[in-house]
């Protein structure tokens, strides 16, 4: 366990794990939880839960419209969370941060409001999560625009060979994933953005899987809009984020209409509030934003670099151990180069459902299925995969439990 020992110097994993009450859970009496389903959602530290509870027990009120003490406190907490997000992703302006209910809503907001017309083209990739594919399918169908996509190489990378033929002067939007939830691949944002810029297309980055594990700098990435989601970054469910350049967001029509997003309303017509409120109709996810702010504090205190290093070592360890399991094939990059800690694999002759079921019996929680990335599954000729994914609290011991579990699965099905 030398890797573990080395990691411990920089990163006190046992202290970290104490912050997450659920990690002490036994799935069944005597069977401790080994949670390796982090790409689906992360667990929450005590600090986030305490902050949300404190919000509800001490400050809860509706925001923006009130002048009483609780309303002012709630507003300060809610808007304070926006400041935290803005600085976490290095937004130039806090007004560029819009709270949504999840990544999916953020991506739909863009797909519904970016103007498209017949003849226009939208480019996605074959490794998109359904949440960054279906909204663009709907948008192009609705407007008569055309959907195109960048294909994949056999080793789980974007096939950039014919980028020039895919992204053309007709391209209005290039929407792509930063880190694939199925393959673990981290895409070369700079290459895609450079090409998109050349043709004047708007770039949309689905950073749902990258923000929680490596942080991002939206200005350095050079994209026009980014979507990510609270529940994968140790924050609560029910909150997502859209960051967009002010010029872009200012130019878009409103998405949802209602309270808060208006300037002046008469029966005959209305005008819109300035950013960010223009895109935040109705009572927002107040406690969730506050909880997300606490999650960002938590991540920042640990340090995104330390988290990335920790997960990088775990991923290296897992890739190495998994590849020694007989009959196991990694779907996606097999090395740690430009890849994160979501590892999909196929186990010869045993369906992922059966793998997942037997692992669960041992307390090992992995995800099985198409992981909302069915086109990429089709591309690699698998109806489904088993996916193990790490987070900041994962240990090499948990990887060992997975590998031992897979040996058990193989024995079970060859009896």
């Amino acid at each position: 366990m030398t890797l573990d020992a080395a990691a411990k110097l920089a990163y006190d994993i046992s202290r970290v794990r104490k912050d997450f009450p659920i990690l002490d859970r036994e799935v069944r009496p005597g069977v401790p939880l080994v949670y390796l389903d982090n790409a689906a959602t992360s667990q929450k530290p005590q600090q986030v839960l305490d902050t949300m509870r404190d919000y509800y027990e001490q400050h809860n009120a509706n925001v923006h419209r009130g002048i009483h003490t609780l309303a002012e406190e709630a507003t300060a907490l809610y808007e304070g969370a926006r400041d935290k997000v803005a600085s976490f992703v290095n937004a130039a302006d806090r007004r560029e941060v819009i709270f949504t209910k999840n990544s999916t809503e953020a991506l739909n907001l863009l797909a519904r409001t970016i103007p498209l017309a017949a003849g226009d083209e939208v480019v996605v990739t074959e490794m998109e999560h359904h949440s960054n594919l279906v909204p663009w399918q709907l948008a192009t169908q609705r407007t008569g625009a055309t959907l195109k996509w960048i294909g994949l190489t056999d080793d789980g990378r974007l096939d950039l060979a014919d980028l020039d033929r895919t992204i053309t002067s007709k391209t209005k939007v290039v929407a792509f994933v930063h880190q694939s939830n199925l393959l673990g691949t981290v895409n070369p944002v700079d290459v895609v953005v450079a090409k998109a810029r050349e043709v004047g297309a708007i770039t949309v980055l689905d950073a749902s899987q990258s923000v929680p594990h490596m942080g991002i700098d939206v200005q350095a990435l050079g994209v026009d809009a980014v979507a990510f989601t609270g529940h994968k970054m140790c924050g609560p469910t029910g909150i997502g984020l859209l960051w967009g350049r002010a010029e872009l967001l200012d130019s878009l029509p409103p998405f949802l209409g209602g309270g808060e997003m208006i300037d002046e309303v008469t029966m005959a017509g209305s005008t819109w509030a300035v950013l960010p409120h223009k895109f935040e109709a109705g009572t927002p996810m107040i406690a969730e934003a506050v909880g997300l702010g606490a999650a960002i504090d938590y991540l920042s205190d640990l340090g995104m670099d330390a988290i990335r290093d920790h997960e990088h070592e775990l991923t290296a360890y897992a890739l190495e151990r998994l590849q020694r399991v007989e009959g196991l094939r990694i779907i996606g990059p097999a090395t740690t180069e430009d890849r994160g800690g979501a590892i999909s694999f196929a186990l010869d002759g045993i369906h992922p459902h059966d793998v997942g079921q037997l692992l669960d019996e041992l307390g090992v929680a992995v995800r099985v299925g198409h992981h909302c990335a069915r086109p990429a599954c089709l591309r690699y000729g698998v109806p489904a995969t088993t996916r193990a994914s790490v987070h900041l609290y994962t240990t090499t011991g948990e990887i060992d439990a997975l590998v031992e579990g897979l040996d058990h699965v193989r024995r079970y099905f060859s009896r």
């Binding site: 369906h351 992922p352 459902h353 079921q357 669960d360 019996e361 599954c377 698998v382 109806p383 099905f413």
Partner: protein
């Protein structure tokens, strides 16, 4: 391990040696069903002869439960008259929705009693039902009822 109540010997046998697998001619209706959350899928053909289920054949991909279930289902319905095949379907459906509370009737369900343990696992019930749902749909189409090709 409690999971052994799901992975019965009978199920693993059918999984390893499925019966009636491979699409056959002739057929009156063909349907394709899939389980969107896990990627299990089945293409299934039914041939009726009056009120008799003359043949059922299928091609499928999926976990042991869905594969075994297709095999057991084909065994159970081929050659039966429609009314009794349908009542077997009803009984199997009831068993799968019982959350482990029902004692299956071996005279009716034969090998399908092995799925009693699956009914305790809500996420897997869909797997066990996939082939049956496809069969039910295909029969409906073969008899000219309005059907849907996927559910």
């Amino acid at each position: 391990m409690t999971v052994d109540s799901m992975y019965q010997e009978i199920i693993l046998d059918h999984y390893k040696n499925p019966h009636h697998r491979g699409l056959r001619e002739p057929f009156d209706a063909e349907v394709r069903h899939l389980n969107p959350t896990c990627g299990d899928e089945i293409t299934l053909r039914v041939q009726l002869d009056g009120d008799t289920v003359k043949d059922v054949s299928y091609d499928s991909e999926g976990c042991s439960i869905s594969q075994a279930s297709a095999s057991v289902m084909a065994d159970l319905v081929i050659g039966k008259d429609l009314a009794s095949a349908t009542s077997t379907y009803d009984e199997f459906l009831e068993l799968m929705q019982s959350k482990g509370q029902l004692e299956p009737d071996e005279d009716v369900l034969e090998d399908a009693i092995a799925f009693a343990g699956v009914s305790k696992y809500p996420a897997r019930v869909k797997c066990a039902l996939l082939a049956w749902m496809a069969w039910r749909d295909a029969v409906g189409q073969a008899r000219g009822e309005v059907g849907e090709s996927t559910t």
